[in-house]
Structure formats: structure tokens, C-alpha cells
Assembly symmetry: C2
Homo-oligomer: 386 residues x 2
């Protein structure tokens, strides 16, 4: 443990309605994160279309940035020279960087995994690079986020068992090397549990990673092409094994409100995803109980806000008609306003979950939260798996 | 005169250093506009990449919206039903709409001008439309800006004299029809002086339009392919003829700081242009005495703000390095921040002109203002004439 993160579980079993949901507080160098919590993604050191004030106004208290992207452009050493990621992007709150494992391993381009690391081609210019646990940790130390993450080898739920077993064992070895390589005392380090959807491999990975002195535990490989049943089954393996573990549990890559609620009920504390922002840029607005596709012609004449009681900059000032116009005219303001809204909706949804856990009303509020989350649209699912 | 606009000239000849520069105050339904003043352009009912708070923070007190664009999309009647342009775009300050004359006549697509109006094809879907003075005024009344503008037929400075003479005579007839068609008492109406760069036709147009009861006088056809010498010569014809005229003079389409200063010295009160915003989206930042091209690789390592003493959201929080990164990564935030900066620079430049006129220091401050304006770059000139 680095001492750079402190996590407290605040709720009692009585408040969770028979689920494993829990209320927590994660204290990091740049601030406190109430959990369960969602982290907007700032891939290129910017949450797409937003400025830091927009991100904070949406309710974000921690954001994620991608090591793979920043390593390639503008370069982690450049960001270090410019004073680190917080100063570079003018975000004074907590930041978590991922390890690049997911991006590197999922690249369509050339990539070769060996026991020492991964060789891959840049998606920007085709140049050849190599990530090892040591390279990833060094890049994350240069970026200087509050939380760094161990370098791992994710697999797809559809991968063959042999491949999953190999990757899971390698992830454990890389976790050790990540720990050994990490020296920055003001930065927490989280490990990543893999194991695909094979119950025994998940359990093995959970035990292996949990045995190491990480500040938190990521659960990887569960926001891809698995079914909700497979995801729930994997969490049913992981979380009971961590029942007495005092560290936060972070399921990487999940962002649809219903998915978030279900994972909270299964004991997850932290999430990140590009989903709310990406579907917003495609004109899909999340509202209580449903979705609006602002490209629908009917909205051109609709004077109402996207969501009546929403405090976001879109809903406070503008009509559905105006947003529909901006999208048709491809005006940049439309992408920003829609993103503000979906992130506000998502972060408000997490705040409602926390409020229910805090007040002990989670057992009765679950149905309302489920209804508020709405069903995922087919187009949203398509965006998600893209 | 509609009574919907009141203009006062506040400066004395003693303060203008032998030029025709003047300080003024234009009072409109939604607020007061100090002149000389620059109007950012909100073509599609949005100043590209900005929200209304950004526009106000940049120092704008009046904006321009394009009747041609809003007529086609989302439709002026739709905007009327939605409560008018101010409410639609959430801008509570003064708005001026142009008449569509410039867009319609400069369309590359089919357009046929006859004595009654102009038939043209939409640039969006190729559909056929017809603008007459009556159609333009009705559209502008539906939009409900503080100031509407008469429908005119602009010409290029390079047009043949016969064509200029025809268009100038037609513009005068259309001015009469625009006045007759205009009935909205809470909306001012400005006339447009044409005449190209032919001194006698400019004079004739000035006398004809000034003889009509407009609330203000636009000077058209002087922000295209004419030389600065031709522009100055035309203003030297127009302004002396209007010397005792109590109405504001608005040169349409000019936006480069040096051009603005020179036109102010020749007696112009109001300006509009897409230029500062358009060059910003191309990565050209206006700074005192020069230009930065943020795509220049050297800026990737430059920790300084774009302009040390600038109060804009870009310069207050972010480095040149960050902006250079955003442009390379094509992140939307970059376009917004760069636009905020160039508009802040432009509107601050106008404020400095007004301050010099107010304090009587314009004669001595002219040299410093000229130096601050900087020389127009070649790429900027290319963008301007595009």
C-alpha cells in the first residue's frame, strides 16, 4: 500500500436491501470521492467537448485519463515537464490513469504479447512501441495521477479458456512487476483482477491480486461482449472473495445506468466509461426512464427542456428544439450540451444510489432507481460494443 | 424611424486626432451597445463553438445572426413559434439580423436576380427558394432581432460598372420596399448603402439610402476582394455625405483588427465578421502585435499562456502546450478555447479604441493601437476571402 489512498466503508448491511451494495469514501491526494461513483473519461486529457468547469458542474469528483493515448500524444514526459496531468488539463480533482493494457491489447493493428510485455503499432502514425509493466508504471508516474493501475492483459469473454488462463497468469506476474516498479509515494496503485468468465480463473485471479499490497482492486474484462448474466456470475465469484477486503472495487469500462445499478448491487464501488459522452455526441439523451434521440424530427418543434428537473446547462437554458437544430446544423455547441446532460444524468444517478444507501432506503428505492435507469437502446448497445 | 433604436454621438472632434473616429452609444430593445463596436456572428443561432456565457465573457454586447441560414434551417416561422431568436438561442442581449442579400447573391449555386427579388438554391438540400424584400423582412420580423436590415443586392468590387449601377439602383428600390414591408415597432431597421468602388455610384447610393427613414445605415460591399485603398476611398465618399446624419454607420463583414481600426478612423461605428472565430478554429491566435499558429510544433512544449494579460478562459487556465495538444488531437475543447480568445482579443481591441476616444488620447494612442492590431497573416487573408 502506498498510503496515497484511504478507503472507508460507511454503510451497514442493513441499508443495502440484501444486496452487496455499499457506501464508501475514497480519500486521494486531490480530494475525496464518495462511492459508488462514476468517473468520466478524459482520453486525451480532456473529457470530450467539455472544459473542467463543465466536468465539475456535471457532478464529477474524479476523472480517468488514458495512459496509452497520452503516452503517444503529447507524450507522458512532455506532460511531466509541463507540471503533470492535473496542471496540464487544469483539473484540480482526483485523476486515475489506466495502464494502457486494454488499449494495447485490443488494438486492431499489429500487437504481439510475450511474457515480458506487448509490442504494438500506434493508431496515430503506425510507429512501433512496446509496453511492459515497467514502461506503463513509468508513464503513469510521469503523468502523476492520484491513482495508477497495474499493467495487465485483458481477454475477451469470448476468448478460449487456454488464452484466458495464460493471460490471467501473466496478469498476476505483471501485477508483481508493476508493484515493484512503482515508486511514487504520492500516487496510489490499483491491481487488476482478470480471469474472463471462467469462474475458477476469476477466483484464482482474485486471490492472487488481492494478496498483493495494492491500494484498490480493479475488475477487468467485464465491460465487453459478455452477457449481463455472465458479468453478474463473475462478480458473484469476485466480490465474496473480497468480502473482508478493506479496499475499493472498481469495475472498468461500465457506463449504462442499469448496468451501473446492477454492479453496485453486486458490490462494486467505482466505474468509468466513455459511454454517456459518446452516445451524447451521437444525439442520444438519457432521461429518467428512457432515451431521447434528438435527431428525431419531432423535437425540432419541442419547446420543452430535454429533462424538466435537470440542472445541467442544456436543460436550464435551452429547448429540445434548439438542441435538435444544433445537431442538424452540426454545431459544436450541440455536442458539448448533450455531453453535459448525459454526464449530469449519470452522476446524479450515482448520487441517488448513494443517498439511498446513506438513508437506509436502498431496499425500497431500488425499484425506482431501476425504472429511472431505463432500458438500454439498441443503438446505445451498438455504440457500447464499438 | 421605428423608435426602436436610439443613437448618440458622445465624442467631440477634439478627441479623434484629426480622423472621423467617434464614440457613440446605440440603445436597442435588449440593451445598450457602446460604439465603435464589433458583433460576433452567430450564423446558425450559435456563435460557433461557444455558449451564450462564453460570448458575453468575451465582451460581446451585440451579436449578428444570418437570416438566410435561419430561414432555411430551422426556419424563421419555427423560431417565431418557439418564442423568437433571443429565447431560442438563450441570448438576452441585442441581436442584429442581416437581410440574406449577401448570402443569396453570393451563392455559387443557381441564383437569378430580377427586379422583384432573387431565386436561389439552398446550399443544404438544393431546394429552390425566393427572397424578395418582403420575404426577407417577414423572416426578420419572425426572428425578432433588435435590428433588421433592408434586403439589398451586393456586388463585388471587381464587378463591371454596369452591373454595379444596376445593383445599386435596385438596392435603392428594395430599400423602399423593405421599409414599406416592415411593421414591427419593437425592431429597428437599417438600410444598406451599396455602389461598389465607383465613387459616383457610392455617393448616389449614400444619398438615396440616407434620404429614407432608416434607424441606421449599413455600408455594404466593402469586405470582399477590394483593396484597403479602394475601401478607404469608398468610405471617404460615404462618411462625409453622412457627416451630419445622426444615425450609426455599420460596415458589414470586416473583422481583422487593423481593418477595424482604419475603418473606425474613417468614421465607422459598427462591424461584424466571422473572421476572428474562423481563424481561431484554424488554430490562429491573435495576440498583441502578431499571430500565433498553434499548430507550430514549438508550442507543444510552451508552458506560457497564449497571451499573458488576457482574461479569456484559454489564457487564464491553459498553456500553449495544452492548446497545441488539443488541436493535434482534434479535441472540440480546442476550437472553443481558441474562439474565446480571438473574440476576447477583438472585443478588447474595440474597447481600447473606445477608451482612447473617451479619454481624448486617441491621437496619441493610434500608433499603439496600430501596433497591437498586428499585420494580417497570409493565411488569415486567405481565410478572409474564402
Amino acid at each position: 500500500m502506498t498510503g496515497a489512498a484511504r478507503f472507508e466503508v460507511l454503510s451497514s448491511a442493513a441499508s443495502n436491501g440484501g444486496t452487496r451494495a455499499r457506501l464508501g469514501r475514497l480519500t486521494l491526494g486531490h480530494g475525496v470521492v464518495e462511492t459508488p461513483q462514476f468517473m468520466p473519461v478524459g482520453t486525451n486529457a480532456t473529457v470530450k467537448a467539455l472544459d473542467p468547469d463543465d466536468v465539475a458542474a456535471a457532478g464529477a469528483t474524479i476523472i480517468l485519463a488514458n495512459t496509452y493515448h497520452l503516452y503517444l500524444r503529447p507524450g507522458h514526459e512532455r506532460i511531466r515537464r509541463l507540471g503533470g496531468l492535473h496542471r496540464f488539463m487544469a483539473w484540480d480533482g482526483p485523476i486515475l490513469t489506466d495502464s494502457g493494457g486494454f488499449q494495447v491489447v485490443s488494438l486492431d493493428h499489429l500487437r504481439v504479447v510475450d511474457d515480458d510485455g506487448v509490442t504494438f503499432r500506434s493508431h496515430i502514425d503506425g510507429s512501433i512501441h512496446r509496453f511492459t509493466p515497467e514502461v506503463s508504471i513509468a508513464a503513469q508516474e510521469a503523468l502523476g495521477a492520484d491513482v495508477a493501475v497495474a499493467f495487465d492483459q485483458p481477454v475477451y469473454p469470448s476468448s478460449a479458456r487456454d488464452a484466458v488462463a495464460d493471460a490471467t497468469a501473466r496478469t498476476a506476474r505483471w501485477a508483481e512487476r508493476s508493484l515493484a516498479a512503482h515508486g511514487r509515494a504520492d500516487q496510489a496503485l490499483f491491481g487488476i483482477i482478470q480471469g474472463g468468465v471462467e469462474a475458477d480463473l476469476r477466483a484464482e485471479s482474485t486471490r492472487a491480486i488481492a494478496a498483493m499490497p495494492f491500494d484498490g482492486l480493479c475488475i477487468g474484462g467485464l465491460a465487453g461482449d459478455e452477457t449481463p448474466v455472465q458479468r453478474a456470475a463473475a462478480l458473484d465469484v469476485v466480490v465474496p472473495l473480497l468480502a473482508d477486503d478493506p479496499r475499493p472495487r472498481y469495475l472498468m469500462g461500465l457506463g449504462s445506468p442499469l448496468d451501473l445499478l446492477e454492479a453496485v448491487e453486486l458490490g462494486v464501488d467505482l466505474f468509468d466509461s466513455v459511454l454517456p459522452a459518446r452516445v451524447a455526441r451521437n444525439g442520444r439523451l438519457w432521461v429518467p426512464g428512457g432515451r431521447l434521440n434528438i435527431r428525431n424530427g419531432a423535437f425540432l418543434d419541442d419547446p420543452r427542456p430535454v429533462q424538466e428537473d435537470c440542472p445541467c446547462p442544456l436543460c436550464r437554458r435551452f429547448s429540445r428544439a434548439y438542441l435538435a437544430h444544433l445537431f442538424r446544423a452540426r454545431e459544436l455547441l450541440g455536442y458539448r450540451l448533450a455531453t453535459c446532460h448525459n454526464l449530469t444524468f449519470t452522476l446524479d444517478f450515482m448520487a441517488r444510489i448513494r443517498a439511498a444507501l446513506r438513508s437506509g432506503t436502498f431496499p425500497v428505492d431500488r425499484a425506482e432507481l431501476r425504472s429511472r435507469a431505463g432500458q438500454e437502446s439498441r443503438s446505445e448497445a451498438a455504440v457500447k460494443s464499438a
